[in-house]
Amino acid sequence: MSELPPTVLIVDDEAMIRRSLRAGFELEGFAVDEAETGAEAIRSARLKPRDLITVDLGLPDMDGAEIVKHLRSWSNVPLIVLSVRANESEKVRLLELGADDYVVKPFGMAELLARARAAMRRRVRTSTGQTDITVGDLTIQADPRGVSVRGDRVALTPKEYRLLQLLAQHAGNAVTRQNLLKEIWGPDHLADTHYLRMLVRKLRQKIEVDPMQPSILVTAPNVGYRLAGGESHEQDSVPTSPT
């Protein structure tokens, strides 16, 4: 991957959005292809494997879930969906169908790149069998289990460790509340979001510099949580006006 530039397929029906995304990705050294419709995207993705696909949810010919399901049925490619606000349940559903992350329109390029890079790094991690994860100041070690912040070890309860581990597996990308609840408390507790809220609060007190203004374990509003990737430059990004 060091010799060849990474490839991205931009799927959007709006020519202007494709144009600005193309510029943004090319400036970051990507080789860019475009597709206007879902059908075209699937055809193109089958013909040539990509390192990344971004999919707009308002495609005229296919609904978001359909295209994510279709791609995921045969490909493991990092997949970022571009969605509008007030579509929270749709976002959660797409993440559960296998999309890696989402950005909310209108979004800044830095934010999209951070999400995309995180998803791409995860593929590298899983293919190389890398188990230790470093996110910003935070290091999560798998064997022996341990977590350290800025070099200092912190003692976590098993549930806190499990939460951190689940988020770290997707470092930089959103993990849905449902997914976390299911993994930590079991499928009977999907509605008990307050367990998760309180657990997150306790964990933040142990790992964040300012637990009231978290910078590592951040909330993905109405969707879940994410570990902020070390590489993203949030200063440059337009805030996600998501909600």
């Binding site: 709006e14 202007m16 959005i17 144009r19 600005s20 995304l21 510029a23 943004g24 400036l27 308002g58 571009l82 509008v84 606000r85 007030a86 929270e88 329109k105 209108p106 979004f107 800044g108 390029m109 830095a110 934010e111 999209l112 289990r145 341990g146 003692a155 976590l156 309860t157 098993p158 549930k159 460790y161 408390w185 507790h189 979001t193 307050h194 367990y195 809220r197 309180m198 657990l199 997150v200 609060r201 306790k202 007190q205 637990p211 009231m212 203004q213 978290p214 909330t219 509003p221 109405n222 440059d236 990004s237 337009v238 805030p239 996600t240 006006s241 998501p242 909600t243």
Partner: protein, 504 residues
Amino acid sequence: MVAALTLVAALSLFLLVVAPIFNLERVTIFFLVPILVSATRWGTVGALACSIGGVASLAFFFYPPRFSFYVADPDHIVNLILFVGIALLTSHLAGSLKRQAAELSRREKETRELYQLSRHLALAHSASEIYEAVQNHLTSSLHRKVMLFRSETDAKARGDSCVDPGIPELIRRGISAMPPGGGHDSRDTIMDTASGTSWLVRPISPTKAEFGVIAVDLGTKKSSEIEAMKRQIESVLAYVETTLNHLNVDRAIREAELRAETDRLREALIGSVSHELRSPLTSILCSASILRAVPALAADTRLAGLVDAIRQEAERHNNDIQNLLDASRISSRGVKPEYEWCDPTDIVNAATERVRLRYSDRHLKMNLQGDVPLLFVDSMLTEQALMQVIDNAAKYSSSDSTIEITTQAGDDKVRLVIKDQGAGLTEAEKAGMWNQFFRGHRHTLSSAGSGLGLWVAHAFVTANGGTIQAASEGEGRGTTVSIEFPLVRRPEEGLMQFEDASHE
């Protein structure tokens, strides 16, 4: 018939034994007994068989010469003729009596069921209860599958989608294709499908299409039985029509359909407006953020400032669009919060994050309490409301001023306080600030705005069971807005059993 003849044979045997003992002369009269019995039990045929058997038995066993069918005495011949006459008459009488009794009991059952139905109809408060009562009544009295479709759209929807796999495709299409005018074709439509069953599909009212359609599975019955069923359905439907008319249901249904149609149109409009307005914003913001990251541009503060201006204005525009969408949502169908447990800290952080970039020269000071209880609210609406209040505070204060955001936990409530050092409030502004399209007179010339933001904030907070209030010491002396949410219950206690205390 065999049973009738058996009766005669049994009686003959009995008389052959008993008559000589008691010296009975007039045995003829005894043979009327089996005839009466057979007439009531097996009808005319049984009675006839009985009388023929009786004549034969009398002639053979009892009239001299005995054990021969020859009857010598003219008296006995007259007896036999009379006997046959009486037998025929009684059998006829008994048979018709029996029919009448059966008819009576059938009518009684029907009346009872109709009475039951009328009681259900009288108790029904809404059209749907009436339809349910009618459907139950017809299903139980006909012992067939009966379906009522409330309106054309209902019929179309339910006919089209395969609600019930038991309905053949052909019938489903028939239900969907029921004429919208109602009156045009009120005749019953019976269709034979591949399975050989026939169905009755007709409008509930011949004059009012709004009352919907009824479909009855008639099965594979004979045409005479089908006619009887149709008559019964007819009488029930006439009754139902009167009740529905009485309740003015047609108008209510039409209005509900109109409302649904309006809502659908509005949703579609909102969706397309949202998409059309946001798509250009997406490319503007995306492009601006790319430009902002280019080192050559970032080095020149004037150029970087221009790019920032583009981003800030685009963000403001995005917020205005959101306000319009929120406002149309509030006025069209009210706000329906989706409650869940939320951390107030998350809500405050998300809201301030969105304001921070647009007002990068205001100082946002956060006083967030670490152990503030969770709220049971719709996080998206609450965040949007808070964002509007903070945005408003920033908009009406000067650059370099401080906006302080505080969370406080009370015994039974959580309070979010937004305190600014801005323009403050006049008495008139205090009174009108939460109204739709309200704009303070002082600000109409100096700043742009739709007058929707605080109205949206108020609506969203109220919809979540909270209250929102503003206080100010007067013009130019800052404003303090307090948003309060009552605590439903504290979930922290319940958490303890699920969090294990053991450390690694």
